[in-house]
């Protein structure tokens, strides 16, 4: 395409963005119009992509970080022949693939769901890492973002990561239209302000007039020929470009144009240019082995092993059997034991330093390229990445997340290091799986089982050593549980997971000596829960006491309810959980102070029995 045609294509993308938003009665046409020329040049001259084969290993990858500019993306799809005009006008309607913000759950050409700003670059870094370190098929990653979102710290975590890894296959295009949702950005059209920042972070910055297609073309070519560092293209643009009534004006974010017909006339009318997007080069995908029978570590019953140790060993073994497994950690691999994997499979290990958002973003990027990531840090610090986890579920991404140092039982380090909200956080995520093993063999089995589940898989591990109680050959299906004690005389059921399983067993023994029988269930699968077993326990014993090293809301105590939600009779429920703000103390003191150790459980059961609350 020549210059005139490129400019025409930009106008077409604007017109179609206006039309789609008008048809929807909502949307972000002005945010689309600012980036239309950037998109036109990218699509027509630089992107290599086969829309009929989105899985082509040589395809470039495009991420629209400013997901609200979806009308532009869909207009580009139309120009490329991937969708037709009729579908374009279904934008934002019930059942349409063309959602307000693009998601890969609906559209095969979308790499990751966007709409929470500042996430496109982190995920793009993950994809670029896959391309550079694992796949080596030569694809480029193009991320288009807005200027407002550069205020998000996650962008700078990603900038640091990309430069450190010399991701010259990554280009960030910033649509500097100077207007956020509410009003002007901090730096307006001061492109230099952004250039200084990116340059300091090790990037190659290029400033362009974002409405000059030749200038843009040169910049994209420069990005492609820059080696050793990622390039950022800072494009000066105008929001609503091309329509005087909205161009560069405040207060028009996220609204269809006041008069679409008039705007379309002003933009030169409806066009129907078709772009022949460049084919990706023929390339061979390095198919990683996706299945295999890992020789999982085996632990002797009675030995004292921390579940985090079992995690590290199992992951290293899984990595040996499966070439698709990769690991990431937030600079605490010596604590989470991700380092066991790093030592055996350094080429598939991604050190993310203390940047949890970037760690999850990288995992989502790797998953988008069909790798199977395990990302770990302290459970407490996963709260840092909750928005990334949430958006990963919108993407439908399959990622494994592992939080170590769960609960008050970590001991002296105190509450800042204690994961006490992680079960609640992961349970609330759509389609998630939440696992919380209590022993080393169980952990190993669950680590292997996680790999092939859908969606967000969360595993919670503990800092301290605990006894191995299961034989290495036992199975632990996701959605299952283990009944560790049961008799026909059980007066109630203790439901525990992780560290509290051992406390519950001790309590059950002590109560047994007093003539009080209780059932003990190890609810290692917190989501989904084992409905059968819980219902049976409810029928047999009438009362469930949940015991958890977690806040009382959203964890095990709430999870058991999942078994009784269809209107059937609900058992009596008692919840033992961490109700206070812990300080520093030994692990044993912490469990006691929280009222979740064997002694506290015993006392609680006695109280219920004495007051005849239970049968």
């Amino acid at each position: 395409m020549n210059t005139r045609q490129l400019a025409e294509l930009g106008q077409q993308l604007r017109v179609d963005s206006v039309r789609a938003s008008a048809a929807a009665g909502s949307g972000h046409p002005t945010s689309s119009m600012s980036a239309a020329d950037l998109m036109a040049v990218l699509l027509a001259k630089h992107l290599r992509y086969d829309f009929e084969r989105p899985q082509h290993p040589g395809n470039d990858r495009f991420v629209l970080s400013k997901g609200h500019a979806s009308p532009l993306l869909y207009s580009a799809y139309k120009a490329a022949g991937a969708i037709n005009d009729t579908e374009l006008l279904t934008f934002r309607k019930l059942g349409s693939r063309l959602e307000g913000h693009p998601t890969p759950r609906r559209l095969p050409w979308v790499e990751t769901a966007t709409g929470s700003l500042g996430q496109g670059l982190p995920v793009g870094v993950g994809i670029a890492l896959a391309g550079k370190r694992l796949e080596r098929t030569g694809y480029r990653v193009w991320v288009l973002c807005g200027d407002s979102e550069l205020a998000e710290g996650s962008v700078w975590e990603a900038a640091e990561h990309a430069a450190y890894e010399h991701l010259d296959n990554l280009t960030l295009i910033v649509d500097v239209n100077r207007l956020g949702q509410r009003g002007p950005t901090r730096h307006g059209h001061d492109l230099d302000a952004y250039a200084r920042r990116f340059h300091a972070f090790g990037w190659h910055p290029v400033e362009v007039d974002g409405h000059d297609v030749e200038d843009i073309d040169r910049a994209f070519a420069e990005a492609r020929s820059t080696s050793g560092q990622p390039t950022v293209i800072l494009a000066r643009t105008l929001k609503g470009k091309g329509v005087a009534s909205v161009q560069d004006r405040e207060g028009l974010h996220g609204k269809p144009l006041p008069d679409a017909d008039e705007a379309i006339v002003e933009l030169g009318g409806v066009r129907d240019l078709r772009v022949q997007v460049q084919e990706p080069p023929a390339t061979r995908m390095l198919h990683a082995v996706r299945t295999g029978h890992p020789e999982l570590p085996r632990f002797e019953v009675g030995d004292e092993v921390a579940t985090r140790d079992a995690y590290g060993q199992a992951l290293a073994a899984l990595g040996g059997a499966r070439g698709d497994v990769v690991a990431l950690d937030g600079e605490v691999g010596d604590s989470t034991r991700a380092e066991f994997f790093a030592k055996e499979h350094p080429e598939r290990y991604f050190e993310c330093y203390i940047a949890e958002q970037q760690m999850i973003g990288t995992a989502v990027g790797l998953a988008a390229r069909d790798w199977t990531p395990y990302a770990s840090t302290f459970a407490a610090f996963l709260t840092r990445a909750y928005d990334f986890v949430r958006m990963a579920s919108v993407s439908g991404a399959g990622i494994n997340v592992v939080g170590s140092h769960a609960g008050a039982s970590i001991g002296q380090d105190g509450p800042s290091q204690m994961g006490l909200e992680d079960l609640a956080m992961f349970r609330a995520v759509y389609g998630s799986t939440v696992l919380y093993p209590c022993d080393a063999n169980q952990t190993a089995k669950l680590v292997a089982a996680m790999a092939d589940l859908d969606g967000i898989r969360y595993l919670r591990t503990s800092r301290g050593a605990g006894p191995v109680i299961y034989e290495p050959h036992e199975d632990f299906p996701v959605g299952g549980s283990k009944v560790l004690r049961a008799s026909s005389d059980d007066r109630l059921t203790l439901v525990a997971a992780g560290v509290t399983v051992h406390e519950a067993l001790k309590a059950a023994e002590a109560l047994d000596a007093e003539g009080i029988q209780v059932r003990v269930v190890d609810l290692y699968s917190v989501k989904p829960v084992d409905r059968e077993t819980l219902r049976e326990a409810a029928e047999d014993t009438g009362c469930l006491i949940t015991v958890e090293d977690h806040r009382e809301e959203g964890g095990l105590g709430d999870a058991v309810l999942d078994a009784f939600l269809d209107g059937r009779p609900t058992p009596r429920l008692v919840r033992l959980a961490v109700r206070t703000m812990p300080g520093s103390a030994s692990p044993e003191e912490q469990l006691h102070a929280a009222g979740i150790d064997a002694e506290s459980i015993t006392a609680a059961v006695r109280l219920l029995v004495e007051n005849a609350v239970v049968r």
Copy 2:
């Protein structure tokens, strides 16, 4: 103090850090030793602080962002005479004020809880903003952080915010000891790498030898005399400085020294220097009016008003009555309606741009200075700041957080913009309050009531307009609920909040026409819940159906359980919630697709009645 004495003081802080960690059997002495000279010079020559009057309005504020270096902090307290040696050696023991990571819940000189890295600067920015924009008492804010934590994006959100606000009362001291927990940082001792980044972000960088007390002294003086921008002091240090067996070595993070006695000898033995910390200047605190009777907005029953609109109006009114109320927003004030406050009280409004972590960090900083902050953005994007919310609860900070655009009912924008996990997230936070009003008058009352609660207060608002159903004079105590329909023939109880209250009322009317009576409870206080009313409803009707525009886990459906956790009989429970991943659709279509609209509720009730699940 002269140079020799300062160096001696540095050694004393090292020795005491080693001693405290040895007594505890855990802790981070090497991370303390690298920063000991920085701390010595700050304490002896630059900090102005009255340890007997931590509330003195003229006191400088010190934040130890690398909270794991708590032995250094406590050793400094000892040198300043604030604690004695006996207390120092209680470090990390049960009941001690000297926790593994410092918290203001225990110690009056601590401004904010740290231990989750990258949070000290964001909170420090909040305190510096209070000093510069609100209090104007001339105090300085000193933040000491590590080099590892500069990988956290939150640091760069804060860096941007501080420079933009010209916070020359803020100094960041970076202890560049080149070693993180697991190993070397990305930039090692390359101080220039950090200097370039901070300079690009608008800061004044100063590089120093962090073990040369004269060099440090000059740098601190330079920071104090720099105007118009914040200063960052990049100090080249050695982890474990002064003890050859640990100095600058990997693998020793977070461990007491192998031989403490020998190390103390090597450091020159135990000393007992006392520092006379400079007094703060006499200054007058501008006491903001903390109480007042706001003329809250009044809405007509039957009018259609969005609760976000009521929030904005009520907050503006509250700000008029109370001078301590301040508002913050993440660049969506036009959507959350925080802009109503901004227009009336611009001097107490803090635009945080799209940087949610920094927004909550700023709120915590303002709360540390006894202001009453209301921080708002889309509920979905508060997930970005979960770690900050969690740490705010560890601090015991009193902050109000408001999430708008809750639930699938926002409509076309799709799942990335829908707050669907926020109730779960905030419920799990220690000591939190979670409020979810359904009408404008209720919202206004709750906005006013929040101001004086303890801890984290969360209010959830809706995008769309809904009918006003309560009179302006009605009261809505926190922990209460409203029974909107009740009769002696109620077959079950619908428990709703926010948008689903209106759906439940419509359903109840439709069912009434069919001869089925149901109770309707508006559970606007999600935490704490109204136990009395729920228990009464359970006794009267035997079955509760919760209906919520939220994920099924951790929200209203789990919250009702809080009323039945003492082993008492639990009613039958049915949960209607958002179980699928929504796409784009109109608000009405979304509620229907999620199965939480009047029609879906009606159908669910009919099913239960027909199958005789309920009486």
